[in-house]
Symmetry: C2
Subunit: 429 residues, 2 copies
Amino acid sequence: MKPDDAKLAELEPGLEGAGIVQAGNAGASGTLAERLSPESRLFVGLLDSFGTPPLHFRLWNGESVVTGTGNPVAAMYIANRSTLLKLLVNPELHFGDAYSDGSIEIDGDLVQFLELIYRGLQHPSFFRRLRRLSRWLNRRQPNTLAASRENIHHHYDIGNDFYKLWLDREMVYTCAYFPAPDATLEDAQVAKMDHVCRKLGLRPGETAIEAGCGWGALALHMAARYGVKVTAFNISREQIAYARERARALGIQGRVEFIEDDYRNASGQYDAFVSVGMLEHVGRENYAELGHVIDRILKREGRGFIHSIGRIRPVEMNAWIEKRIFPGACPPTLGELLTILEPMEFSVLDVENLRRHYSLTLQHWLRRFEDSKDAVRAMFDERFVRTWRLYLAGSIAAFNTGDLQLFQVLFARRTSNKVSWTREHLYQR
Amino acid sequence: MKPDDAKLAELEPGLEGAGIVQAGNAGASGTLAERLSPESRLFVGLLDSFGTPPLHFRLWNGESVVTGTGNPVAAMYIANRSTLLKLLVNPELHFGDAYSDGSIEIDGDLVQFLELIYRGLQHPSFFRRLRRLSRWLNRRQPNTLAASRENIHHHYDIGNDFYKLWLDREMVYTCAYFPAPDATLEDAQVAKMDHVCRKLGLRPGETAIEAGCGWGALALHMAARYGVKVTAFNISREQIAYARERARALGIQGRVEFIEDDYRNASGQYDAFVSVGMLEHVGRENYAELGHVIDRILKREGRGFIHSIGRIRPVEMNAWIEKRIFPGACPPTLGELLTILEPMEFSVLDVENLRRHYSLTLQHWLRRFEDSKDAVRAMFDERFVRTWRLYLAGSIAAFNTGDLQLFQVLFARRTSNKVSWTREHLYQR
């Protein structure tokens, strides 16, 4: 794929008005166009379309450019010409790959740098048009049962020991709920599970089904603390094995059943349906089916709960994240999420957006990850360390800038009046 | 319009399986088909399609039918043949009209009777198909500025004195918020206004714009209790005059401006946008425009709030309510409501469903209305009393059965991080 010449020509007039100054090794004289190599001019044109964030760029050939106004929050080093050209062709994908292999280096705060990039992306631009094209060329395949298994294996079966290094004690790999911002991550994950259980209004003796149970923390929490009989589905073999072992260790294996299977194969009827951090993997083409599954397995006065990363607009996941980290991932808008529920006549009772809580959760994860980076490098390699650092930092930036949202949605059948009178009980300590 | 013969023929086989018994003046002998007149057989077939609720029907000719199993919750008397035939053609519209003019009488609990009818309507049936046809024949016109004025005048300008008889002291004609079910209506309306102001996170010195302000209670509350400078729009002349008078009486006319105009003509920029009970009148064809108006008038870190009656599925308002009570009314599903916000990249922060609170609010209104029925009859006539009784009772039934919902939606620009950390502050007394 080669950038369109007409588009590139369009960029050139923007170079002068962009507040871009050259701060390279040759001192300041001559026009910008003269002093930069052709590929650098293209690159600067691309940056211009971001709305000129204050950044410092250093190139392998000694060229150096400061964009925008104010002090640069970070410096980006591009190690070779090939990396620069790839950034021009598919910046979203190749930035990540180049960061992973070290041909891009960021000096300064990685999260702040990425926030500037995300903010830039929020404006219509050449970059955005390019992104759309590269997305179309790399469009994703539907999540069949087989593809789901492969996608989930890619991310979750890379080893429980790896996740143990930086997740909380309960191994909860979804957004925590911090009653106050200074709560510990351990406390915030327990508070999240209580928040979910309270929203569902779980009562002892009831039955609950969980679709996508991770390492089993919530299923175990519902069984042990709320006296609920739980059936939990997951297609990740390593996670299921870990969850079963924990149930045995806690002596509650009779109250929580972990099933290594797709939630779509669930049967029976339950008082509560819960799914935390699974919808991102479901794919919009499967929403109608998910709605039918929930309708089939939820009792007449049952309650349902979906916790999912979301978006504001129906656009695809970041191309690099989808390719390298979460194949098949696809966070919905709230409107898209409702297409699961409205056709089945479910009544939405409560929606809470925990976007900022996910940013804070990720900040805890990134800090712990950095503290364990030597251990991670020993398990995998430096490229893996850099890939995951970028994924965690990029996710913080995405939640901080509103590029990603976190929706918790509580629902019930529209005919059920067995729902909480107010939400005050969620906040009683 | 004449019922389709093929459809009617389809109904007949259902007569026997429906658990319908004849309890008429002639005693029990002979088959059902022999003992009922042809129009009564049609009517019973129609009832059958409801799923046979336990009801007692008495006809002008002495025929008497008990449907369903169990004790009938109410008896319905149909005074003449013409009423019965009209019910067959357009039951939704003509039931209301016939009740209003007294050619239908209900002995027993009107709300319980209507709940049975609403529950019947929730199942696909002949009745539902008929409803769809009659709706198409009577489909509504878009809400232009001129039509909006006419529609709003129809309902809200029938006299402040009438509404004073049965609304709360503050004249709030929208769903109240009852911290506990035994709260008084007066307290619950004040609690609702506080609930809204807290969700919006109003701070002294901020500016708020209200679209559709009724008699001004919320605008006055925001100005007087939260120190906010309010600009409030309404196209009902009588309501605006009342609201201005109250502002003068409270001595806060400098802090709250009541504008007799359409919200679509609003200008300026505000910290908060609020609309309580107006969206029902907007019409889906105007949602995109409403989104643009909010986008135009909301500051970068402003918050927005919409409180509206809603639906589970995108169907039209009850035909009779729309024709006789609320011309142009059109409650959206939550998904439809989001089509106002998502295209403008607003981030939904909180959705609360107060369906049961609206039922309770209406129960208070109906009780007060019945207590004042002599005064209402003196102002208008008996037909008016019966029309409004049916509207209030029918609305209780609709909220109890989930046919109607009440959504409160809080939102902000997706890039704003000036939003509440949790919702706990809503519940601090």
